[in-house]
Amino acid sequence: MSLRATRRRRQSIFRWVVVTVIGLFFALPIVSMVEFTTRAPGGGRTLDTWATLFDVNVIDADYPELKTGILASAGLTLLTVAIMLVMLVPTMTWVRLRLPGMRRTVEFICLLPLTIPAIVLVVGLAPVYAWVAYFLGESSLWLAFAYVVLVLPYAYRALDAGLSAIDVKTLAEAARSLGAGWPTVMWRVILPNVRTAVLSASFLSVALVLGEFTIASLFSRDNLQVAINLLGKRDASIAIAAALAALVLAFIVLFAMSFVGARRRSPRPEES
């Protein structure tokens, strides 16, 4: 066997070892969760926990905190994504079109939450939420304002990549010269061309909101993770099953992200 073939074989083995180790790192906790949630009293396996989790009536009656948490997280997810998109897409487009000098500043502001621990955010947000509670009530949905701050870095990165892939300025100017106002430019020209980036930003936000615990817990609000935590003190099996279901849902959403919006492109013809 030649030296080159030996080296190639070694590299191949090394690659597989790395993939296997990483796979085990991710798979082991999940397998453990499955194992735990399928344990039957007195030994053996049962799917009773999972059947319970997907039985709406039982959840409604026996685990109301879980239902509340799921509904709160669903609402928070939708609201966070909506606020994030409405706030970020036009702002980033406008900065590219009219205030390119501000781009670095906006990027810095959007990435800032990455460097601030959640507990520090809570300390800062506490007085703000006192006023929010005073004016808008105690609903968990208002956590969406804090979550928008949390998702900013990820959403910014995704949207920035999408906007960088197109010539926003020329497309907007072309549309305007054809008679389009700014809302039409945004809705019919910019958004369809950053669709994948918008979906990416949305899915990343969904994943983050579904997994958020610290802020909700410290503000004593309901969401899925807070509910799972509470449930874990009463019924560990159903809590772990709910956590695993949320995890799988996030996986599916992120996996779908890489397929949705992808377009097959044919090669560019030669100049003629």
Partner: protein
């Protein structure tokens, strides 16, 4: 229904030639920080006329076009179209078609959808819209590519669709912002001629910005040469080339020799020959005369007072560099089949033809830009 809607809907099925309007840019000023991109720029375009703005980078030609389009605001001055002041009218309401330097087709739409976009905004009924889009795609000879997306079209095809899209709305004014600069030479020449053909067919008043003098001279009714935010000269291509009003124009448009001469009244003695001078020339004394390469005749002459440095074959013509006894470098245009008869070191006689030339003061500091005075090859 707006006038634009009326016109487009009435015009579906056939472009009516000659619906151009007059355009006036009056005393426009526009600064970017300390840089004055437009400095009292004034330009009048007649209805249906094709005007090209030509000039070096940073001379303000694109700024002038963008101010006309409404994409930039002028610091002062006025924009009039069809006699109406539209200075404060937003871009979307100016009714101008524009083709950009960068490819600007909407990537998520087919060629047909791109062409229909402006018509949709004007609420033209679907059937008429489709008919109009088909007509425009026919005009640019891309009917077969109607269902292709931008990424399935070549650069030249994209610009032709962009032209069809701009014309589909029957704009009052067509604005072309260096639409050919991203294309290769062959496609550029084809599309250049196509733009002129289409403009003559539809008769839309057109402003074309380019830094390529050949493009400007080939397609425009009049060419404006810009420098430092203002017009140096606006004239027909022939007049611009044959009778440049300023040394800058003479330098910028075409190749120019700067040869020492003695001026007396309206004539100059140049290489031993008397040539007539253009208005605006210096009147007396030593001067530099700006002479086109094709205005110098070259004859082999062992007793000649110039020496060949090099002779090059350029396809349809040839060029020859020579040095005079006084040390001046002269570039002359020669027949392509005469190139082989001249060898470096050959003695020749250079005789200026009696074409009017511009004489400037001998100490003139006018910069020779991209196409300025020739320098002999190494």
């Amino acid at each position: 229904m707006s006038p634009t809607q009326m016109r487009v809907s009435d015009g579906v099925g056939r472009s009516e030639p000659g619906h151009g309007v007059a355009v006036s840019l009056v005393n426009l000023c526009r600064s970017y920080g300390p840089i004055r991109a437009l400095d009292g720029f004034t330009l009048d375009i007649a209805p249906g006329e094709f005007v090209a703005l030509l000039g070096p980078s940073g001379c303000g030609k694109t700024t002038a076009l963008r101010v006309l389009a409404g994409l930039e605001d002028a610091d002062s001055g006025r924009v009039e179209v069809g006699g109406k002041d539209i200075t404060s009218v937003p871009t979307s309401a100016r009714d101008m078609g524009m083709v950009f330097q960068a490819y600007s087709l909407f990537p998520h739409m087919t060629a047909r959808q791109n062409v229909e976009f402006g018509l949709q905004l004007r609420r033209i009924p679907s059937a008429r819209r489709r008919a109009r889009a088909s007509e425009m795609l026919d005009l640019v000879e891309l009917s077969d590519h109607a269902d292709r997306y931008a990424h399935q079209l070549s650069g030249g095809q994209q610009q032709r669709v962009a032209l069809a899209r701009a014309l589909a709305i029957e704009p009052q004014v067509l604005l072309l912002d260096e639409p050919l600069s991203a294309l290769d030479a062959k496609v550029r020449a084809q599309l250049r001629d196509e733009i002129r053909r289409i403009q003559l067919e539809v008769g839309t008043t057109t402003l074309f910005v380019t830094h390529d003098q050949e493009e400007a001279l080939a397609v425009a009714d009049r060419v404006g040469v810009m420098r430092a935010g203002n017009l140096e000269q606006l004239a027909s291509p022939h007049a611009l080339y044959a009778r440049p009003a300023t040394p800058f124009v003479a330098d910028f448009v075409g190749l120019t020799n700067r040869l020492r001469a003695t001026v007396e009244g309206e004539r100059a003695i140049l290489l031993g020959t008397s040539v007539p001078l253009l208005p605006g020339s210096v009147q007396r004394g030593d001067a530099l005369v700006l002479v086109r390469p094709e205005s110098i005749a070259v004859t082999p002459d062992p007793a000649g007072r110039a020496t060949v440095v090099s002779a090059s074959f350029l396809g349809s013509t040839g060029s020859l560099y020579a040095v005079t006894e006084s040390g001046e470098t002269v570039m002359a245009q020669i027949d392509n089949d005469a190139v082989a008869t001249f060898n470096p070191g050959d003695r020749i006689t250079l005789v200026p033809r009696p074409n009017p030339a511009l004489a400037i003061a001998a100490d003139s500091g006018v910069a020779a830009d991209a196409n300025g005075s020739p320098a002999a090859p190494d």
